[in-house]
Symmetry: D2
Subunit: 260 residues, 4 copies
């Protein structure tokens, strides 16, 4: 069982009647249900309002893949928690950023870019094209699939060149968007998936659920703690793999920790 | 003329006799001289000790490519200045991280990873292999070139999969390292180049100077301000490129700024 | 001066009245004129009907960047000439495949894939989005630009994951397409650019001309013959860079050529 | 069960006493045994000498992942069989090229480059560094592992920039080499793995066997026939996803097949 944790900002659901009617148990719970029903995934939820936003050290240590939906309250996410999430991704936890989470703090930290884009909220038609049909995240998905009402996100999307582009969206109003992109940061796999505006029932759509479940499977790293990609070990001369003699001047004492 | 700015931490040169003797005017000045002599590059310098570390808004606005050497004092670099540097890279300024700057704050911010590696200070031989000889950064460089005394950096180097790997190092003690890698972040090109330990005269080496000059040319973006990759403009329905009608519920008022 | 060679199949211009009226001197000549007018590029032309398709050994040796437009007669291109073109790309010649040349023999050889796509000839609107505005090929181009009448090409486009995606197209009929993608093969840079159906005046469009001129500049490798990426040299033990002694059994005699 | 097929050229084993003594049942059989023992993989073998080199249409249709070892007889592999293998990779069959198969016809066809490298047969030490420890192909492998006697392959290796670099080799004689690299071609995943010179017992090494078994698992595509990446379907105007009207001149009749 993959241990997924669906993090929801859970603000619109409290403040906006339309959103609450579509997602009476919260968007996070709807997403988590989709994962559970997909098989092989044990999905819990956490929200901004919980202590430590529900992202305690223990919670993260018991998480293989973290899914994130944020929008109105990106700025309210505590920087220390963001650090903790990012460190855990580096250790090997998968991270899936959904829709408006392009501006979520952990996603921006992992990308190293502004993650800006253009947008329009008009309930227009979005059609996602599967550009890499063999990709594990695209398994079982058709060549294209539609969402009759979605918010538009338009290029240029200020993210790094991805490892792989899996989906590209066509919008009725004339824009395009790279809607599904893969990355790796440290030992953790990262996937950005565009759809999911809060005022539409996107997370009930069968294709969208399949993409998110596939992405969760793909982002799962069973060897999460084997290699710590955050340590910078000093290798003493006498432990060099090939025999070498120390030469020339040096700054560091033997066995010393380096600067950070 | 490309306007390069060589930023030097300038700490070892003050505190360590060996370093001072090799680089009496500072490592930054030696690097800058190499750029000036290469032709077509106007190279200034800035150091940690200057007000705002010499990286004022004006200084950055007059910089096409920023080269960075830091080591002992990464933590002393002001976070607000780091933000400024990163934003300027996103606008299109080139950024070249040298040697121990793998742990420099702006580089880590741009990579989104820990940037950790293993290391050994033993004055051993390093041999750089040109794995992409056609790359602009490798122009004029031989198939391989040596530094008789260098610090060792070993894999796994915790950076994202690069756009291009240009150089890979062989070390006498048995390690390898991806020594020259390219990235893009927003509109800015980023290059990491490994050699340059402070206790050896690496920045006087002709091949090293050529790589750094080539990288500066490569990282130069003549259209630095044309596209702002940090704005997230709302496109109103009535300005959509294709005629659409607004449908369904919405959260945002027309023309409103989005959440960040 | 960059020495560009625009290769045109030159079949539709002979057989189809519509194409001949739009391109009375041939599509290749129109494209070449655009390059000449852009500055810094000396553009010649060659066609399928010339001896050796105009791609003699000498012609290629005097070519820095080869642009290719083919469609109806892909199969008539001599395989020996295709080999010669591909070898020259490996040496460092740039190669720009235009529109229906996705199925041209040298492009398929360089990609290693089928290069298939879906298509529709309905004169519909195409809008190209600049997804990497800082890329040298996008310099001076707007955020998006339109072609009122074009053939549709749709994803999934069976090419390898590109080095960089520069443009993505939106089509009126509902498809998307990665319209501008970069690759490197050996020492040669390769760019695929989608627009250019023969029955529309696409190659007179100012934006299209700018993209093609930018791509020609980008694909130019001034050090074309420095490194031969096709040789597999044996390095004798006595010339090893580090002293080693021969050990164990061997198959090859010293200095022998390897198998191919 | 993943259906792997290990293809062996099977020439050195017949002609060379040293090779025959190390691999009395052929290198292919030794490699296949390693796969079988790894669990979850049903490994068959095929050799150059069999009718159609053992790569009949039926054999390939029953193969999920093809592993290839060739050296002395690359030129004897029938071009029609190479076409068949490449087409099957495009459909989704995994392809793993071992050692001297860098010059095998199907690998060169899939890469689109010369695949040249430098080499030396001196039984020197090779040390492979795991540069992407979280990659599925690196699972269970240590940070580095050694082969006391191997042939040297040196950079620059003339292959395209990989999707991912998983291993880099250090050689005693002073060279480095990107020893494990991933690619995708059509729907098929491709992995190149360097070690495996015929005069050394490399394919009995536990780490090498683990890499090859991991790579076979990684290259497996369970949806091999879902998407045919070799067809170029015409989409008629009346079946466009968005309503469009045909405009302007056209070359093709409705429903016509395109040119190839």
């Amino acid at each position: 069982m993959i241990r997924a944790l669906v993090w929801g900002e859970n603000v619109h659901e409290q403040k906006n009647k339309v959103v609450r009617e579509i997602y009476p148990d919260g968007m996070h719970e709807t997403i988590a249900r989709g994962l559970r029903e997909s098989g092989g995934i044990d999905a819990r939820t956490a929200t901004l309002q919980e202590p430590e936003h529900g992202l305690t050290k223990e919670a993260l240590e018991n998480t293989d893949v973290l899914l994130w939906w944020g929008h109105a309250a990106h700025g309210d996410v505590d920087d220390a928690i963001v650090d903790r999430v990012v460190q855990r991704v580096w250790q090997g936890m998968g991270f899936i950023a959904l829709h408006s989470s392009h501006f979520a703090k952990p996603f921006k930290r992992l990308m190293g870019t502004s993650c800006a884009l253009s947008w329009r909220e008009a309930g227009e038609r979005e059609r996602l094209w599967t550009v890499n049909p063999a990709h594990p995240i695209a398994r079982g998905l058709p060549a294209h699939f539609e969402l009759e009402n979605e918010e538009m996100y338009g290029e240029a999307f200020a993210v790094p060149e991805p490892l792989e582009t899996v989906f590209i969206s066509w919008f009725q109003g004339g824009e395009v968007f790279r809607s599904g992109m893969t990355y790796q940061r440290g030992n953790g796999r990262v996937f950005y998936f565009r759809p999911g505006h809060e005022t539409y029932p996107t997370y009930y759509d069968a294709n969208i659920r399949k993409v998110i479940a596939n992405a969760t499977q793909w982002a799962f790293n069973p060897n999460i703690t084997d290699h710590d990609m955050t340590k910078a070990p000093n290798v003493p001369v006498e432990k060099a793999l090939e025999p070498i003699e120390e030469r020339g001047p040096r700054l560091h004492a033997a066995g010393e920790e380096g600067f950070r």
